[in-house]
Symmetry: C2
């Protein structure tokens, strides 16, 4: 499966659509000029094209497996990982004082996007490490930071996140893992964790687990949870991996996809751990790491969309069938409709994700509360819409292949099987939607309305040059504004039944906004033609989504469980 890194597309998005100039204009990121960014992305793209993309099928056909308690990874993954680590690509935004490049998260987001398109199951490994670096950087003691961060950033060690237990999935507060003080400042961690992505591997010196557990005096629920760093091998006095900790991989899950990524059941039997942050304050540290991880997972959806699109496009251009101008199926209107939809949707999801990264970077560099609020608002939208886009585009990729799409050898089905979990992990998309209409609207909708003002101002500015595109975007933003007001007028539990359609409608409108910006920047370009396709054909979907979000609560509430049976 050849993959071509879309460097030009990133650079156009950064320049014309998501306002990367704001990031490069801050003191903190002043060295990350567009030219520098282009050079960096070019290097990362080459690695993805030449080294990582060839591993995609290997991960599927030669799944990670557990042998005598040790994870054996897919053929070629060790070499691929080492190439990433040697190139410095594990965590490009990590702080320079610990050996990182200190690049804007916007740049790392582009890198993650390319790595995920090339080989999603391997990409998940550094994504977990990036989350751990975030959490340690902001919450761990200096000793822990000095010991662990350089190893994680260099890729010598890998990081994992351990939240879920069999009875505690979306309801993290129900977890029962325990942490007992050892008396020497360390803790003995006991419990079982499930769904641990990359819980072990055979290519890093050490694997470091961030584990949520409850101290003896921790109250029930989320307020009694603390966060611990629990290494597979306990570092010795020189900081080298020493004796084995009391933890092991019980089993690997047999999954629909992502076969190259070992999903572990982890058992901790009094394993030695170090507290990260304050006692009982584990959820705060977890959220630090989860917010960026939600951007990361949303981008996984974008990655797969790009990969599936390139794959389908190549097939459509070579598959001879029917009476079309060049004899290939790309001449069929419905095939072309699918490919155009895939491209337009990928553009929208990527623009939303990069605009979130820009908001995070700007907020971090300036401390501006409005940018932080913008980032908070865009996080659930990016996660849910990005992953739904990955699923939708991968599904269309199968359809473009016709009968060959159902045959595993082509690889089209793998994209769908791999990406399906992204709508579930890191907070299901339903939870993202509840977060959007709940927590993210506790400001009375201020952040949402500020974004809508921006969308409408953009549409106003486009009226003179592109009236046919500006008007539908403006109208859609108005409709989203009315729906937002209608939802805000409802009490919290009543908002939830329409939360996901609302999130989808919001993303649909945002997509129109970004497509319009691209069209304004270059009215005779491919981007402008794609924008016309999106705005005239795909944007109208917002009406149905917002109508569903606004519809009377009773339509759902009146249905009893018995009503659903038959």
């Amino acid at each position: 499966m050849p993959y071509r890194a879309p460097i030009d597309a990133y650079m156009r998005l950064l320049r014309d659509v998501v306002g990367y100039d704001r990031v490069a204009g801050t003191e903190r990121f002043s060295e990350a000029t567009p030219d520098m960014v282009a050079a960096i992305l070019g290097e990362a793209g080459k690695l993805c094209e030449e080294v990582l993309a060839p591993l995609q099928r290997s991960g599927d056909l030669d799944p990670a497996r557990l042998e005598n308690g040790v994870v054996r990874t897919s053929k070629g993954f060790a070499e691929g990982y080492k190439a990433m680590a040697e190139g410095g690509w594990i965590a490009t935004s990590a702080p320079e004082e610990f050996g990182g490049m200190g690049l804007p998260l916007t740049v790392t987001t582009c890198v993650n996007d390319m790595v995920g398109a090339a080989c999603l199951s391997l990409q998940l490994n550094p994504l977990m490490t990036q989350g751990q670096i975030d959490a340690l950087e902001h919450h761990a003691s200096d000793d822990l930071r000095n010991l662990y961060l350089p190893k994680l950033i260099s890729g010598e060690w890998a990081g994992t996140m351990n939240l879920t237990e069999p009875q505690a999935g979306s309801d993290v507060g129900a977890l029962s893992s325990k942490a007992v003080p050892n008396g020497d400042g360390t803790y003995a961690i006991t419990g079982q964790k499930i769904y641990i992505s990359w819980g072990d591997n055979d290519f890093t010196e050490n694997v470091c687990h961030l584990v949520l557990a409850r101290l003896p005096d921790g109250v029930p629920g989320t307020k009694g949870i603390s966060l611990f760093l629990v290494p597979k091998l306990i570092p010795d006095e020189n900081g080298k991996p020493g004796v084995a900790n009391d933890l092991h991989v019980v089993s690997l899950e047999h999954k629909m996809g992502l076969h190259g990524s070992p999903t572990c059941v982890m058992q901790y039997d009094g394993a030695k751990g170090w507290l990260v942050g304050e006692p009982h304050d584990g959820m705060r540290a977890m959220f630090t790491m989860m917010n960026n991880a939600r951007l990361g997972v949303g981008v996984q959806g974008v990655s797969v969309a790009e990969g599936a699109l390139q794959h389908a496009l190549a097939y459509a251009q070579e598959r001879k069938q029917g009476r079309t101008p060049d004899g290939t199926i790309i001449g069929h209107a419905d095939v072309r409709r699918m490919l155009a939809t895939m491209r337009a949707e990928t553009f929208a999801a990527r623009a939303i994700a990069l605009s979130l990264a820009v908001a995070i970077d700007t907020g971090n560099a300036t401390g501006d509360a409005e940018w932080k609020a913008r980032a908070a608002l865009l996080t659930p939208i990016t996660k849910a819409f990005g992953t739904e886009t990955g699923i939708k585009v991968a599904d269309m990729g199968i359809q473009v292949h016709g009968g060959m799409g159902f045959i595993e050898e082509t690889g089209a089905a793998q994209y769908l099987r791999d990406v399906r979990v992204t709508a579930i992990y890191e907070g299901t998309n339903g939870i993202q939607a509840m977060d959007l209409v709940g927590r993210k609207m506790m400001d009375g909708g201020e952040a949402a309305f500020a974004l809508l003002d921006e969308i409408e101002a953009g549409a106003e500015a486009a009226r003179a040059n592109l009236p046919d595109l500006a008007e539908p975007v403006w109208q859609a933003a108005e409709s989203l504004r009315e729906t937002t007001e209608a939802l805000l007028a409802r009490e919290m539990p009543d908002r939830f039944g329409g939360a996901l359609p609302y999130l989808r409608g919001f993303a649909r409108v945002l997509g129109g906004h970004f497509h319009l910006r691209a069209a304004m920047a270059a009215p005779d370009s491919a981007d402008a033609r794609l924008a016309a396709f999106y705005i005239l054909r795909m944007l109208p979907e917002h009406a149905g989504l917002l109508a569903e979000a606004r519809s009377e609560v009773s339509a759902l509430a009146n249905l009893s469980t018995e009503d659903l049976v038959a």
Copy 2:
């Protein structure tokens, strides 16, 4: 995976929604009274619940395989098939003179729906046989009918359809298989066919292939194609399976799903075949069989939707998580939204399929051209919307399961993997949509407008009792009428770019019509509450779909292949 046959739901649909009384009111089907139908469905349902549903996972975990050129089927499939055959369930609509029950296709559709929900990969076997029976009944000579039909109807022999070749998929006319007269009335068939579902098995005495091939004087394209019956074992003078024919299974495909159904590459090396119908007239016979097969495949989507819904509903009622009234996830608004959507969509797709079956039965029993036109119109809608519903509902079923949905052991993923191909085989859904706006509108839209008149009359009649539901259905029908007129005003190739959104919008409106009928029949029932959910929350989607269908052709046509690259 337990399965409960929804007999009451079928009977309410037949009585209140799709007008089965019309079928039972014909002389031909006068014995198929509602009481008789209920008894028959009850028997079939028992078989599905007790014998077939337990085979669903077996087909996935123990795929059909090729051993020394012979197909070995999944564990338990032989027993399951024999139970179907002994019960007379292979082809319940087959003519009585050849041993069939002569039941309306509407009843067979319900039976197929249940068998497919219980075990889709096994159900595909008799579905192929049903198609072959159709083709032979209408096009074969008396000798062939007398020899083959009783064996096929009893299930002693199985039937297959051989259309596709590597270079001839959707473009059937490109096929290159050859048929040369042997001089004794038979023909020597040579060529390779791919994607042959159930091309062989180890539980029927014989396998009979219907093969499209070209006679020496056949012109290129579809007009030079003839249809041949080519048995695996050539019947001897007593009609018993005799010597092996010159054909064999080359290999089985490694597919995303439907692992229990062997998808064969078939090789014919001068195999002995018998002409079915007139020389060069093979496509006509093929269409006889394909039209009913399209209903059959649409129903496969409904089957999987029902199976996935029941499976997710059971999980949601037992999975403890979060603070809900009974502690299970079914109390979460977004989970309930998904389950309600799954139920409402399954109802709509099933009602559309059964209304098509009623139209076919009524047309066949009365010869009425309007019913035949109605059936022709509904065929592509049933196929495409039914299969898309299966995919959508199975996907939501995974999401209801959360993390467990991605783990194969739960079976949730299997529904999606199995059903995915239904949007591709038997004419891709894109081809169905082209058929709808092309061939099926060559009457100037007469059949579509007649159906719209009926929908609007139904809405008018509902205004007094259910004004809040009647008005949106009426409005949606008006919008569909306008879009239909707009499409008709376009030349043929220009219609195709909006064909699939149009088909989806048509199905969305039809779903509203049938939900409204159910609500009218019992305004305080579960069906009425489900109708309110569908009409108020899901029907608004038609607006975006129809806007896409109506949008300027240029939005798609302006995009070049290069524009799609990045």
